[in-house]
């Protein structure tokens, strides 16, 4: 689409058409998008397709590329951005959605298990306000398979179910997955060696911190400085709403199990575990773990922590209340978990997320501390038992952690400082000037190339299971028509998006909701959708769509 004067005026008019009336992020779309349940088949020209995404730089670029390629189907595409708050609030909070909404998801550890993307995104249960199935994909057969795989403890059987679910999504096309953007960080290899590339966390993110446990200091600088975008908001592990804050606190309060560099489940604070049947799991606590104040970590602490979660129903740990019934102490080192219903993701997503809180401290919280719920208790000097111990937190500046040498896998560095550097420009400059040793967030190809020019710096790009996707509004014509959605899939040039927006550092999603890099769970024979405008137009033609003299797409005549 050439940037003709008319299109600019449209953009100007579109922008001016919105906010002048009563402010409201997607107010304009309300009028057009009333969620009419039974819509009789529309006729006449296909209306302009509305694409909404947050004003994150990558999505601004993706929307520009999509507007260019989708218009080749003979439709006008209007891309609009809102602030993160207004888009999340409207789309996820209120389920007010235009034709297509683009959002991206990080490579958090508990999204490696297939259950997250399948159930949270597409199960009918999650098609209610606040749920992530804001596209309202309702497919009973799919729900059945999704619930079945949750209960299936045998990995082989569960994988068959997961593959089946992926095939159903590939035919229904409720979602376009553009790419699984690599997690790319640079580090100063003159100062530290032994970084560990990990699925989703790359070498520097806090999610699964193998690098920080295995890296060796090569110079006198034994404390690693990490430049990161965001900052933590609390030191209370029961109150961490956001993934970076949650995973950083897990450095001090290690989870029972963790993920290996390639995503496989590994023992961590637990030595071993055994799933008797779908609903009871026995776990053996690792011996010799000691809290920072010298008190031993015991099964009593474990039971206390889970009972505490069941009692207070912490929002951030809602998954525990969903699935756990009770915890019982079997022996000085063994506990038994009884579940409400069989759950295959209990070990990776619950034992992989929960931790042990020292009973002798938390039992008298809130107590006299005058706080409504333990989640509001600041926990200013956290007593943990992990490989790192808390030293100092200056809001807006940094968090300083010190190594706990008697942890079973004692890190070789003396400490880590998470610097709050809110702009990429300063982060790159700090790496180049040596003010920072490693990046804690992800950068893209061009920035990696810039840092690689420095002999002492090296950028490492690791595949991730976090996806950039766009969701169709299943109840709104024309995207309610499967043929139209398939045509849109054909008209999406994933290769160009990866090259232009992420300068090559991303995997082509091959239209699957599970990243090919997640080898065990990704279904290899999901039919890929080849980028071809001609094929897209053929799909539309076969479905009865026509084009008028001016090349504008018309609905099929009924």
């Amino acid at each position: 689409m050439s940037y003709s004067r008319r299109s600019f005026l449209d953009a100007f008019a579109a922008a001016s058409g919105t906010a002048v009336a009563v402010p409201g992020a997607v107010a304009l779309f309300d009028a057009a998008m009333s969620r009419a349940i039974a819509q009789q088949a529309p006729t006449g020209p296909v209306p302009p397709l509305q694409f909404l995404s947050p004003n994150w730089p990558d999505y601004v670029e993706i929307s520009r590329l999509l507007v260019a390629s989708w218009s080749k189907l003979g439709i006008t595409v209007e891309a609009r951005q809102g602030t993160t708050q207004s888009v999340l609030g409207e789309v996820i909070g209120e389920h007010k959605m235009p034709h297509v909404v683009g959002v991206s998801w990080g490579g958090a550890p508990d999204r490696i298990d297939p259950d997250y993307f399948l159930t949270e995104f597409f199960h009918t249960r999650r098609a209610t306000k606040g749920g992530l199935n804001y596209g309202h994909y309702r497919n009973a057969a799919f729900d059945e398979i999704a619930d079945a795989q949750r209960r299936e403890m045998d990995p082989e059987k569960r994988r068959a179910l997961v593959w089946k679910a992926q095939e159903m999504l590939a035919t229904d096309n409720p979602i376009i997955v553009f790419t699984y953007r690599n997690s790319t960080q640079a580090y100063n290899k003159a100062r530290f060696a032994g970084v560990v590339p990990t699925l989703g966390s790359g070498i520097g993110m806090s999610y699964i911190p193998w690098t920080y446990y295995k890296m060796r200091p090569l110079t006198s600088r034994r404390i690693v400085r990490i430049a990161n975008f965001t900052e933590i908001v609390t030191l209370n592990p029961f109150a961490t709403p956001e993934i970076f804050n949650a995973t950083l606190l897990r450095w001090m309060y290690p989870t029972f199990v963790t993920r290996g560099p390639n995503g496989e489940i590994e023992p961590w604070a637990a030595e071993k575990w055994n799933a008797l049947d779908g609903q009871t799991v026995d776990m053996t606590l690792r011996a010799g773990m000691v809290f920072d104040d010298g008190r031993p970590v015991t099964v009593e602490d474990v039971k206390f922590t889970f009972d505490y979660m069941l009692q207070w129903k912490f929002p951030a740990l809602a998954r525990v209340n969903d699935v756990l019934d009770s915890v019982e102490i079997l022996s000085p080192r063994e506990v038994r978990f009884r579940l409400k219903q069989p759950s295959a993701s209990f070990v990776p997503n619950v034992l992989g997320f929960c931790f042990v809180a020292p009973r002798h401290i938390w039992q008298n919280v809130p107590g006299s501390s005058g706080v409504a719920s333990p989640a509001d208790w600041p926990n200013e000097n956290p007593v943990g038992y992990g490989g790192f111990r808390f030293r100092e937190w200056r809001k807006g500046e940094f968090v300083r952690l010190e190594t706990n040498k008697n942890f079973f896998l004692a890190p070789q560095i003396d400490g880590a400082i998470w610097l709050v550097v809110p702009n990429i420009e300063n982060q790159l400059a700090m790496m180049e000037s040596g003010a920072a040793d490693i990046l804690g967030w992800t950068i893209d190809g061009e920035q990696a190339k810039r840092l690689n020019r420095h002999p002492e710096l090296e950028a490492v790009s690791v595949p991730s299971h976090g996806m950039h996707e766009a969701r169709f509004n299943m109840e709104l014509a024309p995207v309610s028509d499967p043929a139209f959605r398939l045509a849109i899939q054909h008209a999406t040039d994933r290769k160009e998006i990866i090259d232009v927006v992420f300068s090559g550092l991303g995997i082509d999603a091959l239209n699957s909701v599970i990243t090919p890099a997640n080898k065990f769970w990704a279904n290899p024979n999901v039919p890929n959708v080849e980028f071809s405008i001609d094929k897209a137009r053929k799909v539309l033609a076969d479905a009865g769509y026509t084009w008028d003299g001016g090349g504008r797409l018309q609905y099929p005549r009924r």
Binding site: S2, Y3, S4, R5, F8, A11, F12, A14, A15, S16, T18, A19, V20, P23, A25, N55, P57, V60, E61, S63, R64, L65, A68, A79, R80, Q81, G82, T83, S86, N423, I424, E425, Q427, L428, A429, I443, E446, Q447, R450, E496, D499, V500, V501, S503
Partner: protein, 282 residues
């Protein structure tokens, strides 16, 4: 430089300012036809090689940005938004401010107290933080920026206009008009307004300058409309892709354009200031 001369020719610096201002406006109007490339198109070099962050020269006069878009084209099309927002906001600012000042200065009494209390409150609000609040809470769009700028910056025009109107209304020619039975409106707009015109035009110029700077700053913080290219949004893109220090050809031009345009407006404003306050001409 007699006052009459000033009115017809303006000072040399004023003329330079006017020339620069006219040049910018012409470019803004003619932008779509001057574009060497589509400002939003991704350009390639050779077969599939993305023309990313190419320095000026060769096919791209001012080089390309991080996403392979031509910077010269973006500067040209960006001028429309930056100047458009500037002019529009300035006109709204001066329209509100002048009228508030006129009414308050002319009617005095309760209306004056009320309007001036409103002005004091507007003065109490730190401008840019409030603009950030408003734009961040609304939706990022040029219109929100214009609304935000206009709903605060009218305050200085109102206060100055009121002061002038207070003194003008006592003058003989105003009393004469009133005796001759002219209606309040006629007196205000036919008799008083022409006398405060130089000062009003001075504030139009200052208004444009502040509006352009505010739009650029708000866009730089990411509150501009991403679909619309403006000088501020270009700097936002440069900043969020971490190319500031390397791609000088991407950072300098937008900043220079903003500065030069604002300079041209301030030069014009100085001429209006001389007319409004001849004593400064010594």
């Amino acid at each position: 430089m007699t006052e009459r001369g000033l009115l017809r020719f303006g000072t040399p610096s004023g003329r330079i300012g006017l020339a620069m201002f006219a040049a910018f406006c012409l470019v803004a109007l003619a932008a779509p036809w001057l574009l060497p490339y589509d400002p939003l198109a991704i350009n390639y070099v050779g077969e599939r090689q993305l023309a990313r962050l190419r320095p000026p020269g060769g096919a791209f006069l001012l080089g390309t940005n991080y996403y392979g878009r031509d910077i010269l084209s973006q500067i040209l099309i960006g001028s429309r938004v930056s100047i458009g927002v500037g002019l529009l906001s300035a006109l709204i600012i001066v329209f509100i401010g002048t009228n508030v000042g006129l009414v308050a200065g002319y009617y005095r009494g309760r209306i004056d107290a009320l309007l001036m209390r409103l002005t004091d409150i507007a003065f109490g609000i730190p401008f840019f933080p409030f603009a950030v609040l408003l734009v961040a809470l609304l939706k990022p769009s040029i219109w929100n920026i214009i609304i935000t700028i206009s709903c605060l910056l009218w305050r200085s025009v109102a206060r100055v206009t009121r002061a002038q109107v207070l003194s003008l209304r006592e003058r003989a020619f105003v009393r004469a008009a009133r005796v001759a039975g002219a209606s309040d409106l006629r007196i205000m707009y036919v008799h008083i307004f022409p006398n405060i015109l130089p000062m009003v035009l001075l504030y139009v110029a200052i208004g444009i300058a502040y509006a352009v700077l505010s739009e650029a700053s708000l866009s730089f913080l990411g509150f501009g409309d991403p679909q619309v290219v403006s000088w501020g949004s270009m700097l936002y893109d440069a900043y969020t892709t971490g190319s500031i220090s390397r791609a000088w050809w991407w950072t300098l031009p937008p900043g220079l354009c903003i500065t030069l345009f604002v300079i041209s407006v301030f030069l014009i404003a100085r001429d209006w200031e001389l007319i409004a306050n001849p004593r400064l001409a010594t």
